[in-house]
């Protein structure tokens, strides 16, 4: 029977199958004392389990959490007690059941016979015959017009299934290419919105910064940006300010006036897959991303010097406004963050 072959080749077996090994009794099989002991052991385990289950409930009501958490050896007492007692309760049931099976249940091996995975020949031919009968009745083989039009109709039904998902999200358009930065917007410290003057920064300093608009309210007194909108805008507009010795900076043509007295502003969003970067090594001028270790040289226009990033870090041109605070002179001149197909 081709295909039904089971892998045996007994005719060339050098050693014949000696059959099931003789069953040797366990102490609990022959010694009533040992058997009683094992029974007591199993029962004790089950009993302990019940005890631990009760202790778990006691712990639930005894130990406080929240404002005044009880502690135990520097850890949360409620968590340790609940999990510890529950764990012991479960382990004891498990151990009891397993000891029962190992010591007291019959340990004679028994044999069951396999059957081939395939069905018998008669079943196969009957199945084929039934299928053929059904197909013959439907006439699908003789009626290509009916069959093809059915296939066409089923395929067409796939279209609404796909089209109904259109409103999952808006089309990207050119949203990825712009941020909220624009000419004259102040660069302020993240978290508290403090404005920054160049003389406040020292050589070697790093400031994690945002556009001031994130800290402003609109005409109704509500924040300009909040909730999901703030998060989305922050995910592109977050920047860092770094101050280096002006002699160390080697700007590209056209970027000579993008810094202010050695202060440069770069996008905080890594061009690899978008993690925020602020591991600034003040002596080497390298900026390291903690996610995949892309390293950028900020003294050299954010060029990639190590790691999997494919593009330099975008730079924001800076100036100083009439009050002496740092401002941006325009939006970024290229899309920030991870690359995408139509980025160009």
């Amino acid at each position: 029977m081709h295909g039904h072959e089971v892998a045996t080749s007994e005719h060339d077996e050098p050693i014949a199958n000696p059959g099931l090994p003789e069953h040797l009794p366990r102490p609990t099989d022959v010694d009533p004392e040992a058997e009683k002991r094992a029974e007591r052991q199993v029962a004790t385990l089950f009993g302990l389990s019940a005890l631990f289950a009760v202790l778990t409930c006691v712990a639930y009501f005894t130990f406080d959490i929240g404002e005044h958490t009880d502690t135990f050896l520097g850890m949360g007492a409620s968590n340790v007690a609940l999990g510890g007692f529950l764990g012991l309760a479960l382990l004891c049931i498990g151990a009891g059941a397993i000891q029962w099976s190992r010591k007291l249940m019959s340990d004679h091996e028994i044999v069951e016979y396999r059957h081939p995975a395939s069905s018998s020949e008669e079943d196969r031919s009957e199945a084929v015959a039934a299928l053929e009968q059904g197909l013959e009745d439907s006439g699908i083989a003789r009626r290509p017009l009916v069959r093809n039009s059915l296939l066409g109709a089923m395929a067409a039904l796939g279209l609404p299934a796909i089209v109904f998902l259109r409103d999952l999200g808006p089309l990207p358009g050119d949203k990825l290419a712009h941020t909220v930065w624009k000419k004259g917007m102040r660069v302020v410290q993240d978290v508290d919105g403090a404005r920054i003057k160049p003389e406040d920064m020292q050589i070697g300093q790093l400031v994690n910064a945002e556009p001031e608009v994130f800290f402003e309210n609109n005409a109704e007194g509500e924040p300009e940006f909040e909730g999901a909108e703030l998060q989305a805008a922050k995910a592109k507009a977050a920047v860092i300010l770094v101050r280096m010795h002006p002699d160390d900076i080697k700007p590209w043509k056209g970027r000579e006036n993008w810094g202010v007295e050695g202060i440069l502003c770069f996008s905080k969003i890594c061009t690899h897959v978008g993690c925020p970067i602020s591991l600034w090594e003040q002596q080497t001028h390298h900026l390291l991303c903690p996610c995949h270790q892309s390293t950028f040289d900020l003294a050299d226009n954010g060029k990639v010097v190590f790691g999997p990033a494919g593009r330099h870090l975008p730079q924001l041109p800076l100036a100083v406004d009439s009050d002496g605070y740092l401002i941006a002179t325009s939006d970024f001149t290229e899309p920030v963050g991870p690359s995408y197909w139509e980025r160009g």
Binding site: E5, T8, I15, A81, V111, A117, G169, A235, C291, A309
Partner: protein
């Protein structure tokens, strides 16, 4: 030779005094006809070996995930709407955060047993995937994926993939800094897809990252879609296991046509059920004593914040490693950007690896030409090429894992971060090859040792010194059970291929592919050591008997314990002289 054991009852069941249980059973059977299935399955035989329990770890972990997961859903709020936190955790009070994060803090600090359930859920998830991986390795090493179980292997591979996706969705739900960073990276991966990347990203997040719908969407995936698929696939996996019956190790009394072991009721029900409670208990103790995912220390997700040591959970470690060691190759051409540095390690790499895993049974079958059903397992040493292949894959997996944690390695072992990355770029190609060679040679040497045992017996530790001064070790024959076990395997048959040309000189179709197949098959089995033939065994036994006679003739079969001349015991009566 093999008989049904006496513990299976020989008397038919007789109707005794009617009791409550019988009443219930009759009621059920009248409506469901369950007796037929019960009679077959209730004493179903399960072979006993610790390596068969690895899949059970995964199964029971899944049950624990369901139980703890339901608990969590009673308090978790899958919403990205902004709230100001006013709960018990001091360090975050007054900060705006998503409802998802706030409700996770609530579960951790203001719901008793909440933190325990969160930690148990996460530990169980880690164990679920780890157990699937270990189970998969066992199945691979022992050849249990061969016909008729290839489909079960594929189902298992799908379960592994779904488990990984489920885990990622799950730990992203709290919307904390670490998992939000992971979502950011996922978004970057999606954006790098050629042509459709930005569209897919906007559709996934409902707009620009991070949007306000990703958490509710992941929630539905995590509690409904994937668990449903997992349950269905686990059901199919178990059904096939019941139908095909479990594989077993070769041994006395075991053949390809039977299963030897213990019955489901009561032994295996007790062992497997007990193991469920053990897994549950271990997970519980882990949740009690080991902190996992302390989201309150990460803070709510903020796209301008990040923590050093940002890694995904361990099961995504290889994708992370691939991303870290990939050089920054990007092509900017004709107004488009092709990010090889993200697309290759983040999408192509994992997909190719997964496809290789799923296709493996068919690849091996094609190379070896083995179309028989197999129910007896192979010892890893008896399939050296397959075992060596797994050794290489495990090495590759481990190296990528280490690459994914390169910054933790750097700080823990005071290494140079950049050096680790450069090392890994070369190592992932070189070291798996070395592992392959070493593993294969190791297997072959173990096979040779087995054959030595069969032909010459085992080393007894008794050193003989001949009159000429030669030292030898006496070998004693191994018992018949062990000898049978060592020989209960098939001889390897190299695929010969069809003849190149037929009678009329016409080349067979697919001749090239067929030739490649024959060559691969030869390479696959090339250096394997086959078990000895009957003739060789007889010769070996004959030789051993001769040796024994020779020793007896020389009087060397009396043991000397070495204390004959040091006065420790009386040597009177010991006969140590030569006998001719």
């Amino acid at each position: 030779m093999t008989t049904t054991a006496t513990t299976n009852g020989t008397k038919p069941a007789s109707a005794g005094k009617p009791n409550k249980a019988a009443g219930v059973a009759t009621w059920a059977d009248d409506r469901l006809g369950i007796a037929t299935a019960t009679k077959k399955q209730i004493r179903k035989v399960f072979p006993d070996h610790w390596s068969f329990m690895l899949g059970e770890i995964a199964l029971w972990s899944f049950v624990i995930l369901l139980l703890t997961g339901v608990f969590l859903t009673l308090w978790f709020k899958p919403s990205m709407g902004e709230v100001v936190y006013q709960g018990s955790y001091d360090q975050l009070r007054g900060i705006p955060m998503s409802e998802a994060y706030a409700s996770t803090l609530n579960i951790s600090f203001d719901v008793r047993a909440g933190l325990l359930m969160r930690q148990m859920h996460h530990w169980a998830a880690m164990l679920f995937i780890a157990a699937m991986l270990v189970h998969m390795m066992r199945t691979f090493l022992t050849g249990a994926f061969r016909k008729p179980r290839e489909l079960n292997w594929i189902i298992g591979g799908l379960l592994l993939l779904l488990g990984i996706l489920e885990g990622f969705a799950g730990y992203s739900l709290p919307d904390d800094l670490l998992s939000g960073t992971g979502l950011r990276i996922a978004d970057g991966l999606v954006k790098a897809t050629p042509v459709l990347g930005s569209y897919m990203s906007f559709f996934m997040f409902g707009g620009e990252f991070p949007g306000d719908v990703i958490i509710p969407r992941l929630y539905t995936v995590h509690v409904l879609l994937i668990p449903g698929l997992l349950l269905a696939l686990i059901g199919a996996h178990m059904l096939l296991l019941v139908y095909h019956k479990h594989t077993q190790w070769p041994g006395p009394g075991r053949t390809e046509q039977n299963v030897v072991g213990y019955p489901m009721m009561p032994v295996y029900a007790a062992k497997a059920g007990g193991f469920f409670f053990m897994v549950f208990g271990v997970v519980s103790l882990m949740g009690a004593l080991m902190t996992i995912n302390p989201v309150w220390r990460f803070g709510p997700y903020n796209p301008a914040e990040v923590t050093a040591g940002s890694q995904p959970d361990w099961y995504m470690g290889i994708a992370e490693g691939l991303l870290r060691i990939m050089p920054g190759w990007e092509t900017h051409i004709w107004g488009i950007t092709l990010s090889w540095n993200i697309f290759l390690p983040g999408q192509i790499g994992p997909i190719a690896l997964f496809a290789l895993v799923l296709a493996y049974p068919f690849l091996e079958q094609w190379i070896t030409g083995d179309k028989r059903e197999h129910h007896l397992l192979q010892r890893p040493r008896n399939a050296p090429t397959r075992t060596a292949f797994l050794a290489a894959m495990i090495t590759l997996y481990g190296l990528l894992w280490a690459a994914g944690g390169n910054d933790i390695l750097a700080t823990t072992f005071h290494l140079n971060l950049n050096a680790i990355t450069y090392f890994m770029r070369g190592a992932i190609f070189v070291i798996p090859v070395l592992a392959f060679i070493v593993a294969k040679r190791w297997c072959i040497s173990l096979q040779r040792h087995d054959n030595d045992k069969l032909l010459h017996g085992y080393e007894s530790g008794i050193i003989m010194r001949s009159p000429e001064g030669e030292y030898t070790e006496r070998h004693l024959p191994i018992n018949s059970d062990e000898a049978f076990t060592l020989t209960a395997r098939n001889r390897d048959e190299v695929y010969a291929g069809v003849n190149g040309t037929d009678v009329n000189g016409v080349e067979a179709p697919n001749a090239r592919i067929d030739e490649t197949r024959a060559r691969l098959s030869k390479a696959w089995f090339a250096t394997n050591v086959q078990k000895p033939t009957k003739a060789e065994l007889e010769e070996g036994h004959h030789h051993a008997e001769e040796e024994l006679e020779h020793e007896h003739a020389l009087g060397l079969d009396q043991q000397a314990d070495g204390h004959q001349f040091d006065g420790r015991h009386d040597v009177a009566g010991d006969d140590l002289t030569h006998k001719h």
